[in-house]
């Protein structure tokens, strides 16, 4: 039986091999559902309408993520361990309210550090040149 899972992170690249060094063939979005075709250690080969490829299992949850839940789904989520609601609970709106009440808490550098992205190409060179391995990404 095919297992269905959902993307629980903001962006989920699918790769052509079960490693972070694999080429990205497609990128899934938060809440996208996937069918798991194969498991290799912590990596899953998944298929979606956007294509197929490998992703690390930590990007996925067995729960169904509902992006814009209606009231019935919200109620259902409280009694079900199989449903998670996107954008509910601690979210941007709550952060904004917190910031309004705590103006001395400064998010400037949090926003800046979130912009720091290291390309997979650079990580690959870093590993290779330093005599290191990406074994962790494979297991």
């Amino acid at each position: 039986m095919t297992k269905t899972m959902s993307v629980q992170v903001k962006k989920c690249p699918l790769r052509n091999q079960p490693s972070f060094l694999g080429k990205v063939v497609s990128t899934l979005a938060y809440g996208d559902q996937v069918s798991v075709r194969e498991e290799r250690a912590s990596w899953l080969h998944v298929a979606t309408g956007k294509g197929e490829g490998w992703t690390h299992s930590s990007a996925l949850t067995p729960k169904k993520i509902i992006l814009n839940p209606d009231s019935r789904e919200v109620r259902a989520s409280t009694s079900s361990e199989e449903i998670a609601l996107a954008g509910k609970g601690f979210n941007k709106q709550v952060e904004q309210e917190y910031r309004r009440q705590n103006r001395n808490v400064d998010f400037t550098w949090v926003d800046k550090m979130e912009q720091i992205v290291i390309s997979q190409t650079e990580i690959g060179s870093f590993l290779r040149e330093g005599g290191l391995t990406a074994e962790g990404g494979k297991s």
Binding site: V74, F107, V117, G136
Partner: protein, 311 residues
């Protein structure tokens, strides 16, 4: 949940030390002064030796379950705000070359962890402080002070510090610091909420719970510290991560030995509130073979010095 915490920082002591030709001026971390509302009344004395390893172990499963009730998305918003609290106390160190290098090392390690994917990824920042300290917020914002970087004599030692912090993220130690009652409270409000947008009263209620959660984590991270059990768990994760990437996990022991050499018994916060480096080394002894480490390749030495020599 046991409140028997020890102080959390990876390294943290007073004194002046010289390592590998680098001099580190180490000031006692001053977390007095301004803190966001709710953190000003940090517990001054923490009963750190109340047999907490056992009690934490017993309650760990229940707490972890409660912490897992939050989605990675919610964890991300909590982590951002805890990060902002850290950055309201510490100034960021605006050095692009050093920051980039720390991110390359850190993100490489994070990919080798058991939790390589968090909601918005791992990001690393250097704090402009002499303290020797490091913090990891839920969802993967990791901070290291300049003081700590100056005490790393090579890439492997830096990696051991960063891998330990990734270990805290992987094991959701921050999330597990949230009071259980608060988790229940938040879930109740979320469950009551029936529309796409929160009613104002729900936002107010959730924001109170949010603020409480931030304070629980920040207090633990900054003031009272994680438990010995959590520190040991992060050390173990670090060993695994370092091994997977190909760094000698003995670097972690080297860092702990340096700490031990610098501690003044009985006098300072670190000695008072942290698991002793010796006990952490003992815990690691089963995992890491002792013996002289192989000299790191010249490439690693070169890029480490190039990026961090002026930090």
């Amino acid at each position: 949940m046991s409140r028997g915490y020890s102080r959390r920082a990876f390294l943290h002591q007073a004194g002046r030390v010289s390592l590998a030709g680098l001099t580190c001026t180490v000031a006692q971390s001053a977390f007095g002064g301004w803190l966001p509302s709710g953190i000003s009344d940090l517990p001054g004395t923490v009963n750190k030796l109340s047999g907490y390893a056992d009690s934490i172990q017993k309650s760990a499963t229940a707490i972890q379950k409660a912490a897992e009730e939050f989605t990675p998305e919610q964890e991300y918003y909590i982590g951002r705000t805890v990060g902002a609290v850290v950055l309201s106390k510490y100034r960021a160190y605006d050095n692009q070359k050093a920051t980039h290098y720390v991110n390359v090392v850190g993100q490489t390690l994070a990919q080798a962890s058991d939790l390589p994917e968090t909601f918005n990824g791992y990001h690393f920042l250097i704090l402009d402080a002499e303290d020797i300290n490091a913090f990891a917020t839920p969802s993967g914002l990791i901070f290291v002070t300049r003081g700590l970087l100056r005490c790393c004599s090579n890439e492997g030692e830096l990696a051991s510090v960063l891998a330990h912090e990734v270990g805290h993220v992987q094991h959701k130690h921050g999330m597990q610091s949230i009071e259980k009652g608060r988790v229940t409270e938040a879930l109740t409000v979320i469950g009551l909420e029936a529309t796409k947008t929160f009613a104002q009263s729900d936002v107010a209620s959730l924001t109170r719970t949010f603020e409480g959660s931030i304070n629980d984590i920040a207090t633990t991270m900054i003031s009272s510290g994680y438990s010995r059990a959590f520190e040991a768990e992060a050390d173990q994760a670090a060993v695994t991560i370092l091994r997977r990437v190909g760094y000698d996990p003995g670097n972690l022991i080297k860092m702990l030995e340096q700490m031990d050499a610098r501690l003044k018994p009985g006098g300072i916060d670190f000695a008072k509130t942290h698991p002793s480096p010796k006990s952490r080394i003992q815990g690691l002894a089963k995992l890491v073979a002792s013996g002289p480490a192989l000299p790191p390749p010249a490439v690693r030495e070169g890029r480490f010095k190039k990026a961090l020599q002026n930090v």
